[in-house]
Amino acid sequence: MEHLAEVKNLKKYYPAKKKLFKERQYVKAVDDVSFYIDKGETFGVVGESGCGKSTLCKTMIRLTEPTGGSVFFNGRDIASLSPEEMRLMRRHIQIIFQDPYASLNPRMTVRELIKAPLDIFSDASEEEKMEEVFSAMELVGLNREFMNKYPHEFSGGQRQRIMIARALILRPEFVCCDEPVSALDVSVRAQVLNLMKDLQEKLSLTYLFISHDLSVVRYLCDRIAVMYLGRIVEIAEKDELYDNTYHPYTRCLISSIPIPDPEVKRHAMILEGDVPSPYNPPAGCHFHTRCPYATKECSERYPELREVAPGHSVACHFAEKIREGRA
């Protein structure tokens, strides 16, 4: 079956400041990442700050130019499209940003904000456009009376609804969501998550969902990729990833989340130290400096992503051993 989006060996390197007599160094924000997303599914990417998840999202939809690799969207490689072709492609690919305070122009009214994509892409008359705006507002649960208000008059949750209405007004197939609920309070977060779920069903959307919150990802996503220092270390179906974890980093990550139930005692695998600097990631497996199972081999050779069970891939030399408790 054809995938809706397929990312192959995507790379994004940012040049670091060159030092005299030294070769220029690069921060490998996204390093050789491959995955696919099927139509109608929600693909989650989780990781700690600085692991490259937001860069992955931006590079994938060419908000920043990739250093290498390709991104196929409906079979076309969007990394090689001309600017004009890319512009036309963008109506099928939309993005929702994290910070609803910084991503809405404070000098535009709600109506102008939501209508802006139509002004760019649609030849419809002004009345038709307004009809579209109203139906988009209704879709996300915004009252029509709000259309002449400015973003500062809204709460965080409502602003995020404006962002969603703006992203969906062109009826895109694919929406990138870069931490859409991180800035919201718990009760409002649940509203927005449920809204996103409902809209996905109604409009048969495909989501790429970026988050650092493993509970939110478990709630919303179908398949999940875990990133660490620019690389994917594990990809699996949601329940498979949480209940049948292979990679030691994923395990640490999952066991580190405090569970909102005092009766459940978690056995946190507490990691020593911090995430190493992305300027100078450790040789071999990037995780070996913090991994409790690391051996000499881990510091020498990078483990390639390999399939350990159907649909479940892991980048670890000793994944099976660790899972069975033999390491």
Partner: protein
């Protein structure tokens, strides 16, 4: 038994566009020796304002305490002058803030800031002794090579390490109460787990009481002995941690707990609380949660309930009016 810290009927107002608006109304609670009280609520519910006003840390020009007493260790400290307060702050009651980057001084080394924290309460200590004490505390909070870190600046440390420096600074005078205002919110989960473990270890060794302010129910479940739920400047429910998670009584607590996705289970659909928190300008006359509550009655809209004590919970809700009213002051 008298409590280590007891706050009764605290109300705080802020000056917003030439009008005084009450952000915290009639808040009463206590903290016992050696216990951890979790204060939870969404942003703007007054959890930080409560702790800041307790320590007289709010700006005097734009805020005022309308009413309330703060009794700490048997003495009423609510009327203390700045000078008297500065003998308590940092020494008997200290605080860790959320954002370690802006809370540490960027132009002073970590060591100098720790030494300052020692010297301002203990004039007679020699420089050498103070430095040794500072280094030993850096080691105590799990900072590797503390002598080196002592001479470095905050920006040279990672977020988790900076938070450890803040904890060292807060504990260096062996305070009786530590107020931790969202201590792990800015950190990644793996680092958060480290810091929570550290706080539990330190609590076990020093028997300090902790007031843990957070919006993360997971952190509360793990750390707190008792939980106080706040909403729109009111205390809504107070109960032991196990009780509140197993049997939340206030509709707001119920809604809050039902709207958190679980990391250890797949749930079909989250329930959510409709609507948004009322603004300070349009607070409902009756129960402050009445605008969003599914069990709201006409009584809820007309008058604000007091805290009722029932089955070990203190709940501000008319549904439990058969319980004993513990707190006559309403909102």
């Amino acid at each position: 038994m008298s409590h280590l810290l007891e706050i009764s009927n605290l109300s705080v107002s802020f000056l917003v566009r030439k009008k005084w608006l009450q952000a915290v109304t009639g808040v009463s609670f206590y903290v016992d020796q050696g216990e951890t009280l979790g204060i939870v609520g969404e942003s703007g519910c007054g959890k930080s304002v409560t702790s800041m006003s307790m320590l007289h840390l709010l700006p005097k020009t734009t805020s005022r305490v309308d009413s309330g007493t703060v009794i700490f260790d048997g003495t009423d400290i609510s009327g203390y002058s700045d000078k008297e307060m500065s003998r308590i702050r940092g020494r008997r009651i200290s605080m860790i803030f959320q954002d370690s980057m802006t809370s540490l001084n960027p132009v002073m080394t970590n060591g100098a800031q720790l030494v300052e924290a020692i010297k301002c309460h203990d004039r007679n200590i020699s420089k050498k002794e103070a430095e040794e004490k500072a280094i030993s505390y850096l080691a105590k909070v799990g900072i590797p090579s503390p002598e080196k870190r002592f001479r470095e600046y905050p920006h040279q440390l990672s977020g988790g390490m900076r938070q450890r420096v803040m904890i060292a600074m807060a504990l260096i005078q062996s305070p009786s109460i530590l107020i931790a205002d969202e201590p792990t919110t800015a950190l990644d989960v793996t680092i958060q787990a480290q810091i929570l473990e550290l706080m539990q270890e330190l609590k076990a060794t020093s028997n300090v009481s902790i007031m843990l302010i957070t919006h993360d129910m997971g952190v509360v479940a793990e750390m707190a002995d008792r939980v106080m739920v706040m909403y729109a400047g009111n205390v809504m429910e107070v109960a032991p941690t196990k009780e509140i998670f197993a049997n939340p009584m206030h509709p707001y607590s119920q809604g809050l707990l039902a709207s958190i996705p679980r990391p250890d289970k797949t749930v079909g659909k989250l329930s959510s609380i409709e609507g948004t928190v009322p603004t300070l300008q349009n607070m409902p006359v009756g129960c402050r949660f009445s605008t969003r509550c599914s069990k709201c009655t006409s009584k809820c809209i007309e008058s604000c309930p007091p805290l009722f004590r029932k089955d070990g919970h203190d709940v501000r809700c008319w549904l439990y009016a058969d319980g004993e009213a513990v707190d006559g002051t309403s909102c």
